[in-house]
Symmetry: C2
Subunit: 339 residues, 2 copies
């Protein structure tokens, strides 16, 4: 049986391009006799900024190995088990975890897959609010930011998969929350749909420091860092004493040969700031606790969630490229199949 | 009675210069009737890098107010009470705290002064190892760095008042310690006198990243940051996962109109680094505990201490300027009088 897949054609140089990928058709594999592998049918694929980092060879090893030319792209997705050699998974189970950008994948070590128990919410949510980005937002805000009721919170890339949730978690705790994003449409979304106290389009602000100062006359207690570069410099100037900066990512920098310089780090000393990098893979033990607190909030309508859904595996490369052009509104998902 | 003093003549622009100061002669003041002020005779003055920050007007308020033109320079020093209106201090008491760069100072709010109880160690030590820099090293290492036995520790400005102690605290805990400094004489001091495992002269290293890599093939767990700029960038490339960076100061940057850019901050995310700024003024409650653990170590010869002693108030400006040229070897102290 045929199996369409997206493979890496060339390493990315600067912004990723659709032509860095190509489509190939291969044969669908079966579980070898005696193996504990599973074969899954891929339903929803997740476009996440970290994938760009795997598209070129880096000096610093990340948690996930980089892609090689000709290899299938792999990333987070929601899948259905169609064949199982593993006692914990049976045909028909829905799972989320690392899978391939292809119709069917054989997963040799299925222990990393998480079985989806709550199927009364859309399955695509497990690429976002109920999956890796959701846990990232939860851990990053509640564990890394040491938040208190009344804190002044700033979130960059605020309409993205992680940012929209961080802002809502902060609102639920009673914080004052402002988000930045890259279009007026997203500003509107942050204000109306996600309940941010304020939001701005960073592309329209000539003076980012002043833009923040206007919105945080008392300064910022918590900065949830998704972008890096010039915005981080402006934030440092606006941080309050003993403020916390959770470094979740620096998406504005991933396509640069040399990252922008950040000039205001001496303020980390004077203002006694804590800047803490984190990666969600270290915090998977919190996933059950996260689901338990988040699922009721979604069902009760206390947390809103916006997806940007693209149909068809053939559109996956363009969807990933679009992330870096700010084209997506909300979490970028690719539908390969619906069941 | 006459009182010689050092006042600010002009705000510093770039490196501070001796001509930014001038000497004036005024009259020695007395404690006004009914006041709780004290008059002290100044014995030892401390030259600390933070003083440079008070010599020009800054946007960001620091803990200590900036100097005004014509005002006496003030900073840490060791003094003897010669007249007291305060019940806690009597004539003859030795104290350390903020005083003036002058022969005699009137201190209107003496509650900030700390009475010196252990006078069997040199009194000048209370400008350094037993004073503010000593507590800075103690708090910065033990409270901010979360150190463990066996950690790989790097200290910049390592022969300075704070650095020499951080390295020795780390050695006492069983860490592997490397220091950087700005002369071969200081390298020798770090290796022989302070017992660092290794040390290097950053001015002789063309490739700071490689210099660190050679000395930390396994990477750095703890970086005690005193300098900032290019060295910080090189350190980030050499940090291990979950490493800690205590930001005590960034002395290489204080004289620059615009601070150097730091380009490798995305590694804070990938390597899960914690970068924590701190200021010793928040931690004075630890001073008794610090003395209790440090004084026996000094007396038993387990901690070495090197001062760079300059004689005479008239040489104080040059001694402060010398800090930024790396001229001092060890803690820079100015002797105004010996008793």
């Amino acid at each position: 049986m045929a199996n369409k897949k997206v493979v890496l054609r060339s390493y990315a140089d600067g912004l990723p391009k659709v032509s860095d990928f190509e489509f190939v058709e291969a044969c669908r594999q079966a579980v070898p006799e005696g193996s504990t592998a599973v074969v899954v049918k891929n339903l929803y694929l997740s476009c996440d900024p970290y994938l760009r980092n795997l598209m070129s060879k880096k000096e610093e090893p990340f948690d996930v190995p980089e892609f090689n030319i000709g290899e299938v792209i792999s990333g987070f997705g929601v899948s259905r088990i169609v064949e199982s050699g593993h006692p914990d998974f049976k045909e028909g189970d829905f799972v989320w975890g690392i899978t391939g950008w292809e119709e069917y994948s054989i997963i040799n070590k299925p222990d990393g897959l998480i079985k989806i128990k709550n199927t009364d919410l859309p399955l695509s949510y497990y690429t976002g609010i109920l999956g890796m980005p959701g846990l990232t937002a939860y851990v990053g805000f509640h564990e890394i930011c040491s938040p208190n009721k009344g804190d002044y919170v700033f979130v960059s890339a605020a309409s993205g998969a992680v940012g929209q949730l961080v802002g809502q978690f902060a609102k639920l705790l009673g914080c004052y929350v402002v988000g930045s994003c890259g279009s007026d449409e997203k500003v509107e979304l942050l204000r109306s749909k996600f309940g941010f106290d304020d939001a701005f389009n960073y592309k329209k602000e000539r003076d980012l420091r002043a833009a923040l100062k206007r919105r945080f006359p008392e300064g910022i207690d918590i900065y949830f860092e998704n972008v890096g570069g010039a915005l981080l410099d402006a934030v440092l100037l606006n941080m309050r004493r003993h403020g916390r900066i959770a470094v979740c990512g620096m998406v504005s920098q991933y396509n640069l040969e040399r990252h922008e310089g950040v000039h205001n780090l001496a303020l980390v000393n004077i203002k006694r700031l804590h800047m803490k990098g984190f990666v969600v893979f270290d915090h998977y033990q919190l996933y059950p606790q996260f689901l338990e607190s988040t699922i009721p909030s979604i069902k009760e309508g206390k947390i809103a969630y916006v997806e940007d859904v693209v149909e068809g595996l053939e559109n996956a490369p363009a969807a990933l490229v679009g992330l870096f052009e700010g084209r997506n509104v909300g979490k970028q998902v690719v539908v390969v199949a619906r069941d």
